[in-house]
Amino acid sequence: MSEKLYLYPVWVRLWHWSNAILFIVLIITGLSMQYSGTEMKFIRFDIAVAMHNIAGVLVTFLYAIYILGNTITVNSKNYRIREKGLIGRMIKQFRYYSYGIFINEKPPFPPKKNRKFNPMQLVSYVIVMYLFFPFLIITGFGLLYPETIFPTVFGISGIQFTAIFHSLLGFFLSVFMLIHIYMCTLGEKPSTHFKSMINGYH
């Protein structure tokens, strides 16, 4: 690889790592609350609630920065999905992950300026960041200020509905995080992508 590609500007890297730390805090405290009990004291319930609330507010703030950054900088170009041929491109990428990678094939969609994500990455990031994340923030806000929640939704308690929805979204995002971390080891060397997200160069 001759010339290094500057893919991740400082604001993206700062946002990414602070978001990652807060997300880990949210997952740990969220699990701790969901599985709270008198016998197991992982994190004391009230401390877990306080930490989850603070991390939740900070993550919302970071999300606003992310949206703002993607509105006013060129980074937004990376998130545009070209529908034409998308399925084909995704299948190609899937084939690479499930077969090509083992026989040392070159990745079908290597990062380029303004196209840093491969098709599978792009679709999953858009779903996570523009669909799951807003719902997670809205339901989280509802649980932080329960008086804002409708008393009943489809005949069941609005808080219950919101809480289950919030937990499910949190669960899916934690699975996403697991896959995301593993996918980051698929660079030239297992540490390549991690280093990129630190120094900005691919």
């Binding site: 969901q34 599985y35 709270s36 009990g37 008198t38 004291k41 489809f154 699975v175 593993y182």
Partner: protein, 323 residues
């Protein structure tokens, strides 16, 4: 075409929301009862059911209108909706009250307590009145106060009605029961009837409680302040403040104490459904930690396990093949 499909979905959603919110109001028609002593009691309510009363003053030979002592006013509607609805006033009060003006000494009469009627009566065996009395005697209400603290301090004999067993709406039970506590703890005049101490400010004392408003609206004071008892529906053993529940996880856990207190009746009536732990708690609220779903737990463990397995196999193959 697409637009009409969205429109149809919106209509369907609106109908679902409407049916979900409206069916709760059906079938709540008040039970109509005809009291046996309406006529006799009517003579008392003629004065004691109003803020003013009229009588003929034989000394001045004039009709007089006087204000009724507010503490002696009994709301006849509340009375006939209460548990003692079919009583005659003179079942508990002296027959001499039938004469007017009432004899001043009558106010010294000893008033019957709960056990005077309910004690040792098999009809009321389910209610365990003797155990309630025993719990009350061991509670701070009895310990710290004089014999003036009777059942009537909390349960107004003219309006009291059981709610935990009969009310379908748990929120009503909560408001009703908490109002009993607040009738003293938020009313300095009544509080001073039995105590010379300063009435503690409830909001300040519960400053530490997260989401205070939500807790106050969704659980009763006794959930934390009374020791539960398996045979009594509503715990009466109010404990010293040092023994009050302060650990979040006592409620926010799979073994939530709320199943043995606030939701005791519902918990007995409906056991596990839809795989939720503590399902009766779910009907009215969602309590983090207490309302896990068995199936969602299993599915989440399976999804995590499957993801990890795929990752491990993928990583393993990469290492093996690259070698």
């Amino acid at each position: 075409m697409k637009f009409s499909l969205i429109k149809k979905c919106l209509y369907l959603l609106a109908i679902m929301l409407f049916t979900a919110t409206s069916y709760t109001s059906i079938g709540q028609e008040a039970e109509k009862r005809i009291p046996d002593f309406a006529e006799e009691n009517g003579l008392c309510f003629k004065c004691h059911g109003h803020k003013t009363y009229n009588y003929y003053n034989e000394w001045t030979e004039q009709n007089v209108r006087e204000r009724m002592n507010p503490y002696f006013i009994v709301d006849s509607i509340e009375f006939y909706e209460s548990n003692h609805w079919n009583f005659q006033c003179t079942d508990c009060h002296s027959m001499d009250y039938e004469n007017f003006p009432h004899d001043g000494e009558l106010r010294m009469e000893e008033k019957p307590g709960c056990l005077d009627c309910h004690g040792g009566d098999d009809t009321y065996a389910d209610y365990h009145f003797e155990e309630i009395e025993d719990e009350f005697q061991r509670s701070v209400h009895s310990d710290k106060h004089s014999v003036d603290f009777t059942c009537w301090m909390c349960h107004n004999p003219h309006s009291y009605k059981i709610s935990a067993r009969t009310s379908e709406n748990i929120k009503e039970v909560i408001v009703y029961d908490n109002n009993i506590c607040l009738s003293c703890h938020a009313d300095i005049n009544k509080y001073q009837l039995i105590s010379d101490q300063e009435n503690p400010n409830i909001l300040e004392k519960h400053d530490w409680l997260p989401n205070q408003q939500l807790h106050f609206a969704n659980v009763r004071c006794i959930e934390c302040h009374a020791k539960t008892n398996d045979s009594i529906m509503v715990a009466h053993l109010i404990q010293p403040k040092e023994l009050a529940v302060k650990m979040c996880v006592e409620c926010h856990s799979q073994n939530s104490i709320l199943e043995a207190s606030l939701y005791k009746f519902q918990a007995r009536e409906n056991r596990n459904k839809l795989g939720f732990f503590n399902p009766s708690l779910l009907e009215n609220s969602y309590i983090i930690g207490a309302n896990r779903n068995y199936y969602l737990n299993i599915i989440s463990i399976f999804v995590y396990g499957f993801t990890l397995l795929v990752i491990l196999i993928h990583a393993f193959l990469r290492i093996i093949i690259k070698k």
